[in-house]
Point group: C2
Chain length 412, copies 2
């Protein structure tokens, strides 16, 4: 594994944001030394009794035991603790990997006096090596008794090949009470070297039932974490968990129609979107952040598939890396998506500059403003299919020599 955070992404924010304390959330980190390194690599988040939890997980069939167990645990809707191991994804390790996760769950449950099913575990890093039980046991032991730490320390500890720690916060007024939302995420590609993956954790002190919490998370995820792509490769460990400690004292939120549910949703969505964008900004080798907007599709789902076809096209991504207004490649990506489209109604733009309309280059096309837009770091690509009202936005980064260097010039 490469030393982490060596060369900070050119798209990284200036610094880690100031995240508020969330009542009922205590962060601790420790050294399990899953790899031959001297850094904290085990994160322990203690959650107050009564904390509700929602989760979304990778759809990759070859998922890790952590994902399998988490998917089952989430049905109970309550959580007392989260453990995140960095440096070993524990994926494709069979029963031995599963035993290691169960050991961690029992160890933490024994300490907190809760049920093992209330302890959530994630792991990220090398694949095919069962998580070493002895290192996990000693690491958890150290973490359980460690001094509480900052959000930034926790955000750094869950990272593997990320080049910067990622956090975000927002707040909402629920029934006259201000509630806080804070989240951290790791990821630098759907998959980074050694199969590091995207893991995200969002916390709020709001009081929310598990069912509504799941509804809010699923909805927020679809327009954020599920709308980003670095390299089209879906990891085996992707996980996003949302915990609500209920310490803010707001009137409990039970349904989407309750006053304040919309405000909380907006705050959760803001944090999820910010964190998702930060993952793209740390995309392997990224030099440009790209927003792809598709309109005029026959449905939102159709628009989304067309947008992903554009965002995942190696030729579109390399053209943008080269600051080349090669809109023909966008046309190609629209056409290969397998969705309803009509070549002779299609319009393409870079930034706000239309380059093609009705299946033809625009009359008197002036490349100068388009070229100027492409020289920036934040690129917008638009396609209007001219068929209906379906629309979608996805985010990606460009494909550069940096991606090849990270993934090919590296030996496991």
């Amino acid at each position: 594994m490469r030393p982490r955070m060596t060369t900070r992404s050119p798209l990284a924010p200036d610094s880690f944001p100031a995240l508020p304390d969330i009542a009922g959330v205590t962060l601790r980190v420790a050294r399990a030394r899953y790899k031959d390194w001297d850094r904290c690599d085990l994160t322990y988040v203690e959650l107050a009794p009564g904390t509700t939890v929602a989760g979304v997980f990778t759809r990759n069939i070859c998922c890790s035991s952590e994902v399998e167990l988490g998917r089952a645990q989430i049905k109970q809707g309550v959580g007392r603790a989260l453990i995140v191991n960095a440096g070993n994804s524990n994926a494709f390790t069979g029963y031995r990997g599963r035993e290691a996760v169960e050991q961690i769950m029992e160890q933490v449950a024994g300490h907190l006096g809760c049920d093992a099913s209330e302890v959530f575990v994630s792991s990220t890093g090398v694949i095919g090596v069962p998580l070493p039980k002895d290192k996990a046991r000693a690491g958890v032991e150290a973490a359980l008794t460690a001094e509480p730490c900052s959000w930034e320390a926790a955000a750094e500890t869950i990272c593997t090949t990320d080049t910067f720690a990622k956090g975000s916060t927002a707040r909402a007024i629920v029934g006259g009470t201000t509630v806080q939302v804070a989240g951290i995420v790791k990821g630098s590609g759907m998959i980074a070297p050694d199969m590091a993956t995207m893991l995200g954790y969002i916390f709020t002190d709001a009081t929310v039932t598990p069912a509504l919490l799941q509804e809010l998370l699923s909805e927020a995820t679809s327009g954020s974490f599920n709308s980003i792509t670095v390299d089209s490769d879906t990891s085996t460990s992707d996980t996003v968990l949302l915990f609500a400690t209920g310490k803010a004292g707001n009137p409990p939120l039970v349904t989407r129609d309750d006053p304040g549910a919309d405000a909380l949703y907006a705050a959760i969505r803001e944090v999820a979107l910010d964190l998702a964008h930060q993952v793209v900004r740390d995309g392997e080798g990224a030099s440009k952040f790209i927003e792809v907007q598709v309109a005029g599709a026959t449905s939102d789902n159709s628009a989304r598939r067309v947008a992903l076809s554009i965002a995942n096209s190696p030729l579109v991504k390399t053209a943008i890396a080269g600051e080349d207004a090669n809109w023909g490649r966008v046309v190609m990506a629209v056409g290969k998506a397998g969705e309803p489209a009509d070549r002779d109604r299609l319009a393409i733009r870079f930034g706000d500059h239309w380059v093609a309309k009705d299946g033809l280059p625009v009359d008197g096309y002036d490349e100068a403003p388009v070229a100027a837009h492409l020289k920036g770091q934040d690129i917008r690509v638009g396609a209007d299919l001219g068929l209906g009202d379906g629309r979608a936005t996805v985010w990606t980064c460009d494909l550069t020599h940096g991606y090849i260097s990270i993934n090919a010039d590296y030996r496991s």
Copy 2:
């Protein structure tokens, strides 16, 4: 457009193969100067009266007028001529592009005294610029009266960003008569810079009805041209045409059960597969030729989708470029394919060396022979899903700095 054939692919064959004359096929080339270059860029193939034709075309919805017209013409099943323009794909050019194609068809038809619908046209190169009618007219005029040329000259003339000219041949015994099959192809990616694309032309002197010819071509294409991928980007102009001049004197082949039909199919398939492999060997930036074999799937189609998921994964392709036995990335690609799979039955191999079985790394895994295999130029990746009898093979190349250099360090 880059100067062509500057740096020959390291995977290229030593030389262009010796292709036999095919009775009823006459090749000519000329300079239309579609770009600012001094090379032949217009190919004219004259076909004897009575020649039957079959074709397969891109499924990209944003296809060129050439593809639209060709798809309609092929239904008649007869062809007297083929024109291939290099340097301008004429795609996304609306009615002006279509007019240029129709002009070429009429000009050649006037010369041969045939119907315009018997003249097939393909174009490859820059997108969004209508094929200039004046250059096309002069180029066709020169070609119609040029001296016949060699297969190699024709194979070079249809190229754009290819680094070597590609041809292949095979023969078959049909009803006691030896029939010849010869083909040429261009392509260096599903899409090369400026949207150059894959165009393939196969010729035989066999006598075959159009319906059977189409059946043979479709079947041969599915296991050859439709089973290769360089970068997952499907072009707007992909076309493969198969012409049968009927000059060999064999008893006419009408159905798949006729004696000799299997032999002719085998010869066509051999040429198609060889040409398809040559396209991959000229894949942009390729340093390794990769065969992906999937077995044990619930169906052949399912196996094919899993194989393409592996072959199109940027992380698998970069790992192989880096000679890294990162089988976890193959597991990830199997799992993300969306096809039936069971993590705990999955087995993965490189070459003939199994690295994982039953959802676990193999006991006593020895990386040395795997590493040795990965140092070669011809790499084989295998996945056995352990579920059924479905199997498929696809071919691709690795993803290297060369791909980025060609596609990102280049300005249109």
